[in-house]
């Protein structure tokens, strides 16, 4: 049973932004509702006003522009999974979409919602981090862009202001000789929360050298993070088995410092190593 609330049904984005501006701090946006409605039913969130942004045209659409891929905040995870641009240019993101929740939830859950809720196990975040994504936030007062890495500050905490909507997430199209991969480990083979999320991206050159590596972890800590120590190690180096092993070790350390979960440490080490090895094969074999 849901608690009582007022539900506003804007027809356009400007209408929605007006409603948010007028309604904060009690008003929150509702898109797919796959987290929000569950939380409201469970009593952990009780907004008195919901602004329905599901279906707003301005939040839909996946396109390529100015060397960037742009995904509307209201795009569902299912749409992401089906999209040819994503399949071609961002398999790392598609990989996460494929194991996100379950097919029914995917038809409602939005990319924007996943980012804005910023649950520690949010599967959309690690791939977007290694894609170097930034989020576009819009309010009645204007637009701003924030790198995703800065946007998420902690578990369920982002830089989103109450009257803002996440209208899009964008990232530069990957250059040639680059590849990415994503892996999720949970307690069953489908439809579950991640225990460990790993995403990697390598941009290389023809000669076998790694120009840039990006490694992002999710679910192992309250906040998603890039493992900069490992990335620094791999930058402008040939990508060797030793380098990969060391990077994996650094990632595992970053994920679970001494007192942390030995299990997660081992899993992170294994997955980072495997994903980097696989990505290297993809680029250079």
């Amino acid at each position: 049973m849901l608690p009582e609330f007022n539900l506003l049904m804007p027809q356009t984005l400007p209408e929605a932004l007006d409603m948010l501006a007028a309604g904060v701090p009690d008003a929150v946006p509702l898109a797919g509702g796959t987290n929000l409605l569950v939380d409201m039913r469970g009593g952990s969130r009780r907004p008195s006003v919901l602004v329905n942004v599901a279906g707003l045209d301005e939040l839909r659409g996946i396109r390529q522009e100015d060397g960037h891929l742009v995904v509307g905040g209201g795009v569902t995870v299912a749409e992401l999974l089906d999209d040819p641009l994503i399949a071609r240019h961002a398999p790392v993101l598609r990989g996460a979409a494929a194991v996100f929740a379950n097919p029914l939830v995917r038809n409602r859950a939005t990319v924007g919602g996943n980012l804005v809720d910023a649950l520690p196990a949010a599967d959309m975040v690690p791939p977007l981090l290694v894609l170097n994504a930034e989020v576009e936030l819009v309010s009645k007062d204007g637009t701003r862009r924030v790198p995703l890495e800065e946007f998420i500050v902690g578990a369920r905490k982002t830089l989103l202001q109450p009257q803002e909507l996440l209208v899009a997430v964008r990232w530069p199209v990957s250059p040639p000789h680059s590849a990415g991969a994503f892996r999720k480990v949970g307690l069953r083979k489908a439809a579950c929360m991640a225990k460990v999320d790993v995403a990697v991206m390598v941009e290389g050159d023809e000669g076998g050298c790694c120009r840039q590596a990006r490694i992002a972890l999710g679910a192992v800590a309250p906040r998603h993070f890039r493992v900069h120590a490992a990335e620094d190690l791999l930058r402008d180096q040939p990508l060797t088995a030793e380098g990969i092993a060391e990077a994996a070790r650094l990632a595992a350390e970053a994920a679970c410092p001494r007192s942390g979960s030995e299990y997660k440490r081992q899993v992170v080490e294994a997955l980072v190593r495997r994903l980097l090895t696989g990505v290297a094969d993809d680029i250079w074999k």
Partner: protein, 790 residues
């Protein structure tokens, strides 16, 4: 090792027309098009909505309970607390008994008055005009607890000075088996192997949460429409409410799954009380979270095996200790413990056997029936122990079992002679043969194979004097009606009865209509539990239909001037067998002439005109035995047993701890498959529940609080988790069920989890002694194995 299936003894099972065919079940289409009405799908005019206030602490005294604010809310019609129900005590003892005395200490409070003993214990009932108002009323009820020390580990609960959850000493039940001389047996052993195994709380996780509607009618009868495995609960509800038995009417619905979780009284008593107090219809439907909190769980067990063996694997002595966690209230703990005790040593000849078992109360969710009923937990231990013995002796796991398997005519742990086929080797070899050679595994992925044999009881404890009744009637147009109280959990209970009656009366399944699950209008058939319905109600239907057939053929014999044994019925036509076969070909409706055949409808009309009975009410009795001496538990306990095996191949990722099931095969001797498609469904479904038991399921309870409150945390298998279990059905025809049937409902689950545990141990070379086999536990074990290897 290449396994070859053992030859089956020759079995001549007659080819039947309806029984043995994978026909579309009578309830299937209604469910498929969404027409079937479940307990939560009823509404009535003027209906109220109920909610239950439950304890949020595991051990406390209720200092203050103030419902005044809630009562004052507009739209709140009734609030009940223990104060309003001074005499309401609920029988939680084994249900469906006839005149048996109720076990002392087995009554539970309907609503907590002074003490609460587990999180979720019901404290107050609310009935309101809408669900919203009921919810707000719940929030307005004020409860003040005086928190008392709780105890959560059964071993702690046994220690002197432990908080007392169940008077006087937290011991809810004890059983022991004393057979032969274990001292001598251990002395004769070449090796002694000892292991302890643990299994957790499990939830039934039926997709249909508990629900129902109740109303009081013009006869002052309280009618309750509810999903239940036991319509005989009307007696206990009547008792709790202080009304005569014939004033409670349970209309059971088709269940959306039971598995033992709807065997106890759930919503019925709350519905009855609120309906009576308000004199309006009342609906109560649990949320998923409430269902997980409110209904029983599978008993956690700690089982220690100490086994003496000869070099060839022959068991010389076994000493087994079992502790089960009864949770806050006894419910069926003593019986689950009894089953576990009797099946503790597994399907093996153990001449020197001591078993000591105890069920202990704690401030945890209460535990009761769950598919397998102690037999499943016992199997997790005894089959892993067998593999450990094989490893210690460097013998093949099948070989170790071969030298110990029970055979027909042997005595089991309680000295009961097993009379039906004991196809242990036959089922195990077939499962292993179908499993095939182990695949080669690259690098950090380790592949293992494992199997488990089992025995599971078929039918209820015989000292309960089990009975079932069914009524079969031929209508004047040749269609058939069955009335039987049997609850249908979804496993095809009512359909089996239809196929049996159709077979006997020579009509098609499409000519059958069954009315079931009504405590007043259908003959009482007992519980749908203990893998007993096909045995009990199936035999009752067989008898009833058989007597109708006798009347028909007797009358027909006069009509045809042939002996009744020369007549048969098929496709709704009675005919002379010899005449049909003289014309060549099979006796069938196509092979008839007017002279030697007669439509059933015409025969029925003839009989009706002469006042001959076209219906029969049959009562079927299981064997009635005396209760065993608890000092040694030697004697007959069950009508029959089912035997089989499950084999799996797993791939263990030794770097992430993930386990992937590559292949799953199960082979069971079901005696006779009434509907083979339904049997396959049970083998695959029960098997999958067992696979979940091994790998993904655990109700995590911390200091009495469930940490896995919904399906997001309590993980049952999805379609992506396991390959389909290949089901190999064997039919020995030797069961005590109709047409020689044995059971499959519980047996299908029992061997699956130990098979997985054995496969994982085979893969990584080290055993994990508790379920579930989580990635964390796997990695820790792999680490241990590396340590050993160094």
């Amino acid at each position: 090792m290449k396994y070859k299936a053992k030859l089956l003894p020759p079995v001549e099972l007659p080819e039947l027309r309806t029984v043995g065919k994978p026909l579309r079940r009578v309830d299937a289409l209604g469910k498929a098009v969404g027409a079937t009405v479940y307990a939560g799908d009823f509404t009535m005019p003027n209906m109220l909505h109920a909610k239950v206030l439950r304890s949020t602490v595991p051990s406390a005294r209720i200092k203050r309970l103030d419902v005044s604010k809630a009562r004052a809310l507009p739209g709140v019609v009734c609030i009940l607390t223990a104060e309003d129900l001074p005499d309401a005590k609920l029988v939680t003892d084994i249900p469906g008994q006839t005149g048996q005395k109720i076990r002392a200490g087995s009554e539970a409070q309907v609503l907590a008055s002074d003490r609460v003993r587990f999180v979720g214990e019901p404290i107050a009932l609310v009935a309101a005009e809408t669900l919203d108002i009921a919810g707000r009323a719940l929030e307005s009820i004020e409860v003040e607890y005086e928190v008392l020390p709780g105890v959560f580990d059964p071993r702690e609960a046994l220690k002197p000075g432990a908080p007392i959850v169940n008077e006087p000493d937290n011991v809810v039940a004890r059983w022991k088996i004393r057979k032969g001389d274990v001292e001598a047996g251990f002395t004769a052993a070449d090796l002694i192997v000892e292991n302890t195994f643990r299994v957790p709380f499990i939830d039934h996780a039926y997709i249909e949460p508990e629900a129902g509607v109740a109303w009081v009618d013009e006869r002052d009868v309280i009618n309750i429409r509810v999903c239940t495995q036991v319509v005989e609960h009307f007696r206990s509800i009547a008792r709790a409410m202080g009304v005569p038995h014939n004033k409670i009417h349970i209309q059971g619905t088709m269940l959306g799954g039971g598995f033992g979780g709807k065997e106890d009284i759930t919503v019925e008593i709350f519905l009855a009380l609120l309906a009576r107090h308000t004199r309006r219809p009342v609906r109560l439907a649990y949320t998923r979270e409430e269902s997980i909190q409110a209904h029983c769980k599978r008993h956690p067990f700690i089982i220690t095996h100490r086994t003496g063996v000869k070099k060839n694997g022959r068991v010389t002595a076994a000493e087994i200790k079992m502790i089960s966690n009864s949770g806050a209230y006894p419910y069926l703990s003593p019986y689950v413990l009894l089953y576990a005790t009797i099946m503790a040593a597994g399907p093996y000849r153990v001449d020197n056997l001591y078993v000591d078992s105890v069920s202990v109360a704690t401030n945890n969710p209460f535990t009761s029936a769950f598919r397998g009923f102690g037999g499943a937990q016992a199997a997790v231990a005894y089959e892993q122990q067998m593999d450990e013995i094989a490893k210690a002796l460097n013998l093949d796991p099948l070989e170790v079992r071969r030298v110990n398997y029970l055979k027909t005519g042997d005595r089991n742990a309680t000295g009961q002679v097993i009379k039906s086929a004991v196809w242990l080797e036959e089922t195990a070899t077939r499962a292993l043969e179908a499993l095939g050679e182990k695949v080669v595994s690259p690098g950090s992925i380790k592949v293992g194979q494992g199997f488990a044999s089992y025995m599971q009881s078929y039918g209820r404890i015989t000292w309960l004097h089990d009975t079932s009744r069914a009524w079969v009637s031929l209508e004047l147009d040749g269609s058939v009606v069955i009335r039987c109280g049997v609850p249908d959990l979804g496993a095809g209970q009512v359909n089996s009865l239809c196929q049996i009656a159709a077979e006997v009366l020579g009509v098609g399944l499409e000519d059958m209509t069954i009315y079931s699950t009504d405590s007043a209008l259908t003959p009482l058939a007992g519980t749908t539990t203990a893998t007993r319905q096909l045995y009990m109600s199936g035999n009752a239907v067989l008898q009833a239909a058989g007597r109708v057939r006798e009347v028909l053929l007797d009358r027909a014999s006069k009509y045809f001037e042939e002996a009744p044994e020369d007549l048969d019925i098929a496709d709704g036509v009675v005919f002379v067998k010899e005449a049909a076969s003289r014309r060549g070909g099979e006796p069938s409706s196509l092979n008839r002439s007017i002279a030697d055949s007669l439509p059933l409808a015409e025969l029925a009309a003839m009989c009706a005109a002469e006042g001959l009975p076209l219906s029969n009410l049959a009562l079927f009795r299981a064997p009635f035995t005396a209760k065993l001496d608890p000092e040694d538990l030697q004697g007959d306990v069950f009508p029959d047993f089912t035997f089989g095996a499950h084999a799996v191949e797993v791939a263990v990722d030794t770097e992430t701890g993930e386990i992937t099931l590559l292949k799953s095969v199960a082979c069971h001797d079901v005696g006779r498959a009434i509907n083979p498609a339904a049997v396959v469904g049970q083998i695959q479904g029960g098997g999958t529940q067992g696979l979940g038991y091994a790998l993904t399921e655990e109700v995590v309870v911390k200091d009495g609080v469930i940490q896995t409150p919904s399906f997001a945390e309590y993980l049952i298998p999805t379609s992506r988790d396991f390959p389909t279990t290949e089901a190999i059905i064997l039919e020995s025809g030797t069961g005590v069920g109709p047409f020689g049937a044995k059971g499959i409902g519980e047996p299908s689950l029992t061997p699956a989890a130990p098979a997985v545990a054995n496969a994982v141990a085979d893969a990584i070379g080290v055993r994990i002694h508790e379920l579930p086999l989580t990635p964390k536990r796997v990695l820790a074990a792999v680490g241990r194995a590396r340590g050993i290897g160094d």
